[in-house]
């Protein structure tokens, strides 16, 4: 097994997330795509850490821990916004939420 395979897996995962963000209309599906892209980035960090010359520095691991914390905060705020949009507009379709009035 080489680093190439892991990076290729991560690239495919990122492309899947990007496809979900670009082509799905439901706001929750867009958030799912963002989570997939974050997972791909984390897989990249872990792969580079595993193949690095100084794994005892733990840099990749610590970056992933912080990245997971930020992703959790992002998911909470994103879903709260989706619930608020649904309460005001009765829709979760991203294309329908097209007014700035609260």
């Amino acid at each position: 097994m080489t680093l190439q395979i892991l990076l290729a897996i991560s690239a495919v995962l990122f492309a899947l997330g990007l496809a979900a963000v670009l082509s799905r209309s439901n706001a929750i599906m867009i958030l799912i795509g963002i989570e997939l892209m974050l997972g791909a980035a984390n897989l990249n960090f872990i792969s580079f850490w595993r193949f690095s010359d100084h794994p005892s520095d733990l840099t990749g691991l610590l970056f992933v821990i912080f990245s997971i914390a930020v992703a959790a905060a992002e998911a909470a705020v994103g879903l709260a916004i989706i619930i608020l949009v649904y309460r005001n507009l009765r829709t979760v379709e991203a294309d329908d939420a097209n007014q700035l009035k609260g």
């Binding site: 190439q4 990007l18 496809a19 670009l22 082509s23 997939l36 959790a72 709260a80 619930i83």
Partner: protein, 182 residues
């Protein structure tokens, strides 16, 4: 060919199977992520996403990052997936619009084309890079004690900032989603 593979398997089964501990969950990861992207039903998509989170955690553990893999399982499977399912349940449309497309204005073909273009570019660079041909080094060890020392030592400022960020984000999320604003 088969005989040689069998012999190396008998000589050291763990070493022979080691790549598959990573590649098998990675295969599950990609399959369930693809299913989550194309599923029509939101609940099915969320469950496929949960399966892909579990597979990603298993990949982390198989790569030697046990602590991060367990954090991934706890935070993503335990919290993020559950919050997504809750949001789906809270925002159920009153009348199910069957005729409506699940795709946005750009359409499935446009999104897939852009994603495929990015994927082709990334794979081109990945397979051209000399760095990526590096063989697997000896298994790395990352004891939890060392991670804790690094978090409380060199990275303590980042740890405090992430704590403030999480608190602010979660209080903000609660305020945004509150029923009637005082």
């Amino acid at each position: 060919m088969m005989h040689a593979a069998l012999e190396s398997f008998c000589a050291d089964p763990v070493k022979f199977l080691a790549p598959w501990f990573v590649l098998l969950p990675a295969f599950v990861l990609l399959l369930s992520a693809a299913a989550a992207v194309v599923m029509r039903n939101l609940i099915h998509a969320a469950l496929c996403l949960t399966l892909s989170f579990i597979a990603l955690g298993v990949v982390f553990i198989a790569l030697g990052a046990e602590f991060v893999g367990l954090v991934q399982l706890l935070v993503y499977v335990g919290a993020v997936a559950m919050v997504i399912v809750f949001a789906i349940l809270l925002t159920r449309p009153e009348q199910l619009e069957k005729s409506r497309s699940v795709f946005s204005g750009i359409g499935p073909a446009g999104g897939a084309a852009i994603a495929f273009g990015l994927l082709a570019t990334l794979l081109g660079f990945i397979f051209a890079s000399p760095l990526a041909k590096k063989p697997l080094p000896a298994p790395a060890v990352a004891p939890v004690a060392n991670i804790g020392e690094a978090l409380m030592g060199n990275h303590v400022v980042a740890l405090i900032v992430i704590g403030v960020l999480l608190t602010a984000a979660l209080v903000g999320a609660a305020v945004i989603a509150m029923e009637d604003q005082p």
